[in-house]
Symmetry: none
DNA sequence: TCGAACGGTAACAATTCCGTAACACCCCAC
DNA sequence: GTGGGGTGTTACGGAATTGTTACCGTTCGA
């Protein structure tokens, strides 16, 4: 599951490590650059949805990184992240084209909320879930397989989204019916089987030997994003 | 020459006065609302480019104002401005759709820089949008196709502009109705279909096989500026 | 080993949904 | 008033979806 790609430009290893762990736990796909020059390079190669930028960096400082990126027309949201809390630094950073400026020591929850606010405004706040060679894009209501769109019907998408929301858990047919078809609907439980079959034919490498959507005899199904069987 | 229209929602007269003087000196066109209800009204009538929103307000508090505005699909940047600096308040505010959150006592220079950063974003985000052989000129409220103006009705332009503001996202009919027709209007969702049909005939290479305005059965539509799938 | 139960899936039918043409209403300019 | 453009509603036809049924292979227990 990915909330988006972040580029963290930070030279202090301990801080970079701690922060990236927290952000990854939040579902972000985090890349780290240890100095300003690498930050510039990775901004071009990684194409992040958001940059977290320390100011005091070896080689090229954060202000210069920001100025350079904007000069190149790179428009990605930038959050400056620094111990320098002087008003003139904040103003300078924002005037150079940064979108937000947070002073250390900052509260991680706030940092995440600010990052998400920027992604939301930019419209890149998508949560993408991956399994195998597929990714489910809830915002676009679409599934891509190796980058190509998979033609799913509404029911199939709803079922897959439900599976993805409950990975690794045994799901009884009744439970699935209630969640995906709705409580008020009278449908044969066999309708689920049919829908699962078409889903498998569209997202499984081998529909006859499913690895993601596994059958639990007498119960229902279990979705395994990793394709492996847990102990 | 105005830097933009600001709506300051603040109940304490002294602070409102002082702040608005400073902002006016910076070239902003400042309107003041003394409570939350008036803030909501003025947001609709004044149509500000940015809202500075105090949290602790009589009648309707700032969080509710923010929630209500976003619920109405009003997308104006909001800066929350408050003495409540608790992390959970900051996170709540940002999650409700605020764009920034500054705690009192704040430094005026920083506030102005943050406001300008948000306005700058808005300015650069919405110049001219391109898709296929068309370009949408928001300022001129006009669409060119291969350089020639396309004759769109007001409704069609509003719909296309809305699509362009949310590229690649699934848009439910209800959402579209709220955003383009307005929350208070009673119209059949089928009216959207009809408007989409005419739009397609005007901007799609082949209206019967649309590539930009895609149908999502049972849901609504999705606008893909690239006409294909992003990598 | 046999039979019953269960799930996979193909075929079919009914339903739902969308595109679009036709029509009606409203507003405004003249 | 009158005409014309814009906009919402309705209806029809085609197409996609989806539930059901049936048949078959597999699994499991006696």
């Amino acid at each position: 599951m990915s909330e988006g790609r972040l580029l963290l430009v930070e030279d202090e290893p301990a801080l970079a490590r701690g922060l990236s762990d927290t952000l990854r736990a939040q579902g972000f796909d985090v890349h780290i650059a240890a100095d300003g020059q690498r930050g510039l390079d990775m901004a071009a190669t990684v194409k992040p949805d958001l940059i977290l930028l320390d100011i005091m960096l070896p080689k090229v400082n954060g202000f210069d990184v920001c100025r350079t990126l904007r000069g190149q027309g790179i428009d990605v949201p930038i959050v400056m992240l620094t111990a320098k809390g002087q008003e003139e630094d904040v103003i300078l950073g924002l005037n150079l084209g940064a979108d937000d400026y947070i002073t250390k020591p900052f509260r991680t929850g706030e940092l995440i909320a600010r990052a998400k606010a920027l992604l939301r405004r930019r419209g890149t706040d998508r949560a993408v879930q991956r399994f195998g060679d597929c990714e489910i894009d809830m915002a676009a209501r679409r599934v891509l397989r190796n980058g190509a769109p998979v033609d799913l019907t509404a029911r199939e998408f709803a079922l897959l989204a439900y599976f993805a929301s409950r990975p690794g858990r045994a799901l009884a047919r009744d439970t699935i019916l209630n969640a995906v078809w709705g409580a008020a609907v009278f449908v044969t439980p066999r309708s689920i089987d049919r829908c699962v079959a078409t889903l498998r034919s569209k997202v499984e490498p081998d529909a006859h030997n499913p690895i993601y959507i596994q059958t639990i005899r007498e119960i229902g199904y279990r979705f395994e994003p990793t394709g492996s069987i847990p102990s």
